[in-house]
Symmetry: C2
Subunit: 231 residues, 2 copies
């Protein structure tokens, strides 16, 4: 019997945050196909496994519990598998990192594809993307990241905050390699952390499987095409 | 000495979630003016009280701690003032409610004003807004909301989940009263919960103060004008 079932489209994007944590804790999980995810998504909320608007949804079979929303899934897994800080301040900063991540994902996809990128709009956005990198870098630096004695990011035991920050910036720059020099230049400690986390054996295995399953896709759809055309 | 300082624009929108919780726990707090918030927002992240892209930011003076992002602030206050459920499942569902709320706020403002509403787009959006109401209603109903013995929403002691759900739907329908019949019809238990929470003495006081300070504004700006034109 598998530990978890994950409902998420066959692309990295929001699903990869959950997969990274599941891989790290050595959990087994099943992923459903596009049709099953879509069928669940279109049900009346009263009939859904958890009332939700869209994936990701995670089922924890051991606890017979389902929850939607990336932030909620990450907090749940973090609590269960002891990947969260044990004080209220660093726990809140972990949630801040997750919420910042969600904002970056929305902005990079122009709100899940509500608009398409033009070269001029992408150029106008670049300073803000750079500022987001600095926000993450500085959040880490204030908690010891650069000295490799991090207490929030880059701790001895990788945490939900580490997986969130590194899946965001690492996966994005893996899939859009021309953005990697910008990350190296703007947020060198964060870039180094992305590499350290990506080098963990379970993360390497996940990367190979994801590359096989999803190819170059990041968020997919017209918005990815629009993003690729300007990046 | 005041307990907290809140950086948020002088409108309800995201700030009202924080204000509702602060009012409930009887905390004292100071709010800064537009110029101070903007000055802090424009600083280099390395010089900000907490690296952030925009408000809300909360400072807890007792702990000399600052954090940005509504979700992080609500979790922090919930932990500190014991307004969170004590099991991982309901805690995760609380985070789900906060994340769902954030999605609704983004959608209602067309992603913080990235686009403006047209009557046709608003009509096309209404079924989705209604579905969001059902998602909240059903999330509550599965945990006893209708029987007034809620274990997630509508518990004996109002929680972060209650304040989040009721500030979202209650404040929105206070400021756009023509949406209230839709809420009553679509999500009657949620609508009743909004009224019960709004009737708490501290929430009534906050409502009077906010109405005095902000008038009819909800999110303000061009996007509010665009929303008022279609609703």
């Amino acid at each position: 019997m598998t530990d978890y079932t994950l409902y998420y489209w066959p692309v990295p994007f929001r699903g990869q945050f959950v997969r990274a944590v599941l891989a790290h804790v050595g959990a087994t999980w099943n992923e459903l196909g596009f049709n099953d995810i879509n069928a669940e998504r279109r049900k009346s909320p009263s009939e859904q496994i958890v009332p939700h608007m869209g994936p990701p949804v995670l089922i924890d079979h051991a606890n017979d519990f389902a929850v939607s929303q990336t932030a909620a899934i990450l907090l749940y897994l973090g609590r269960k598998h002891e990947l969260l800080p044990n004080d209220a301040e660093r726990e809140a900063l972990t949630v801040k990192i997750i919420a910042d991540t969600d904002d970056v994902l929305y902005e990079m996809t122009r709100y899940n594809g509500a608009q398409m990128w033009t070269p001029a709009e992408w150029q106008a956005y670049l300073p803000r993307l750079k500022r987001w990198m600095v926000v993450f870098e500085q959040t880490g630096l204030r908690h010891g990241l650069s000295a490799r004695s991090g207490t929030l990011l880059g701790t001895d035991a990788p945490s939900v905050a580490d997986f969130t920050a590194t899946v965001l910036w690492g996966t994005m720059t893996d899939k859009f390699p021309s953005l990697r020099p910008l990350l190296d230049e703007t947020a060198p400690s964060l870039a180094a952390l992305c590499d350290r986390i990506a080098a963990l054996p379970e993360q390497k295995k996940l990367r190979i499987k994801s590359d096989t399953d999803y190819g170059d896709a990041w968020c997919a759809g017209q918005i990815e095409a629009s993003l690729r055309a300007v990046v």
